[in-house]
Symmetry: C2
Subunit: 353 residues, 2 copies
């Protein structure tokens, strides 16, 4: 970042001079201070409008110790789920007069640390950490813990479901979502159920464990079979595919919709048909999961709510001085076409291939 060329800018002094008043009067006039006469107020307003004056928030922030800026750190803006969260977060922030400065952590702890640091550099009034690998406790050492919310934490040190969650944590109720999935599958005759996911992410571990627990509740023995799929497997599902084809389960529960859709696509080249030969379940409820062929059975999580609530909690915390208690948002199972009633006969023209 070499030194850029200087920039011209209309400042409050220019407005004041034009209106024939002092800077302080101009400042008060624009701030609708009651002590300023209507005459001068309109004069200042007019001058500001003519000159197209725009206040410098950084300078104001220096004085009032608040920048009106929120920092949003998420794994990847390009991801549909994170994009939704970011959009809702930004919208809610904007409604409350806050701007959002953001950074992508890209599943790298050091990047996350650097991002938190720049939020502090820019004196963000509050910070939201979405799908972060960083331990919430550590994050709280980089930014003021009273001005931090942690959304869908992916830290391995996060408390397991069931334990009481720390304040400022916002999550979806993945465990009960997974319960609903297993109930649905078992209720429709599925027994040999497997899970495909990325072993490194805590969210994934939680979903996997929840599935295992639910299966046990149904009296189905043994550990849940697991197909390991690296983080970006959805761009290249072939690696996962051949392992699945080697020992196909009756139903495959996937870490998220992207992976599920990619596997369904890859399966088309193989001998297995969905849902006739194998059931597929996703997680997240992205729009495209409802438009796939067959349409994907999945757990719909309230992504927009996540972003909206993260922003509003954060703004509340900024003003009250303390973050709200942990929030767990309910999820919903959307049964669609990628699973079927296993006990019923396979539909028309099956075993065609």
């Amino acid at each position: 970042m070499t030194r850029p060329v200087p920039r011209d800018r209309v400042i409050l002094g220019d407005v004041a001079r034009r209106a024939g008043v002092s800077v302080s009067t101009a400042s008060r006039a624009l701030a609708s201070d009651g002590r300023i006469s209507l005459r001068t107020r309109t004069a200042v307003r007019a001058a500001a409008a003519e000159l197209r004056y725009v206040p410098n928030i950084a300078a104001r922030g220096l004085r009032v110790q608040a920048t009106g800026t929120l920092g949003l750190l998420l794994a990847d803006l390009g991801d549909p789920v994170h994009g939704q969260i970011a959009a809702a977060f930004e919208h809610e922030a904007g409604e409350n007069g806050y701007r959002v400065i953001f950074a992508s952590g890209l599943n790298d702890r050091d990047r996350e640390r650097r991002a938190l640091r720049t939020f502090v550099e820019h004196a963000a009034d509050g910070v939201a950490l979405v799908s972060g690998l960083l331990d919430p406790a550590e994050a709280g050492t980089w930014v003021a813990p009273g001005r931090l919310v942690v959304v869908q934490s992916d830290s391995r040190r996060s408390p397991r479901p069931g334990r009481t969650l720390a304040p400022g944590i916002i999550q979806t109720d993945d465990a009960s979502g997974m319960d609903a999935v297993i109930d649905h599958l078992v209720g429709n005759g599925y027994r040999d159920i497997a899970y495909a996911g990325d072993e490194t992410r805590a969210t994934d571990v939680a979903r996997h464990e929840a599935a295992e627990l639910a299966l046990r509740r149904h009296g189905i023995a043994g550990p849940l079979r697991r197909f390991s799929a690296p983080d970006h497997a959805w761009h290249d599902p072939e690696v996962v595919l051949w392992r699945i084809l080697a020992e196909p389960p009756e139903a495959l529960v996937c870490y998220d919709d992207k992976l599920a859709l990619a596997i369904m696509d890859a399966l088309r080249g193989a001998a297995l048909r969905v849902p006739d030969d194998i059931g597929i379940v996703g997680f997240d409820g992205i729009p495209f999961a409802a438009m796939s062929n067959p349409r994907l059975t999945t757990v719909v999580t309230p992504t927009a709510d996540l972003g909206r609530i993260a922003a509003s909690s954060l703004i509340g915390a900024i003003h009250t001085g303390h973050v709200p208690d942990a929030i767990v948002l309910p999820v919903r199972l959307a049964v669609r076409e990628s699973t079927r009633d296993l006990r019923a006969a396979v539909p028309r023209d099956a075993h065609r291939g």
Copy 2:
């Protein structure tokens, strides 16, 4: 935005006191000023580390007249295409030491104006306007035109393709993409070709016109039939669907992949099969277009490049003082399964429904 509670913060003065030097010495030590002795430099460094000092960029910005912040205005962060652009933009900016502050215009001129204003309020060093409705010339009156790049402008006043584009404009070569689409369709025997899109967006108009022109070049007479699909039709394609079903074309070229995928999905409930009874073409090349069933024939646009180049051009402009010449990025037709060779026989088990 009521007054928040004040915040504690380690400032340079604290570091200086701890190291037993003056603030100016501390500042220079941290900036690796050559005149500072190694002794004091390390002392200051140590003090800063112990205290976890993080500089206040706003204060520095006030002094050096640069904030290291870029403003990014796009239509909707939740959209896959814009998410990709935003991610690449943020990444490239970060590599160059810049942070990104962003806002969603949501296809509303007034929101766009307000967003540009807040970028100025926050003294962004440069601004990128992506898929904006605002006329680039007007945008240049709100922010310094020498620090503005306009990506995929959706302004109706934008120069038509063929004309020379103003500096700072970055676009994909949609016209030649559409040429390739029409070549592909006509070359495969399609004659009755229609277009589905949103009449209000300039990008849409440009794509539509390019299709019409290409058709004429192939000696196919008459205006291109158009199915009007409102901006968010992809969430509820039924309205478009019945019009299509009333007079189905041989092939339907869609404004973008989202619309194409939604229409393909809706078509599954109707009597028309893709590609047997109707060909479908998308635009953008989002990942899900490659995973649909059938996989979507589409024009792949370099979204990540768009974001990356926007950021690098902007940063270049900040340092050189003038924006680069207009850039038009090439696109690529990906022929997949949603179109076929019309002259060949319809594949196995057709007309089944």
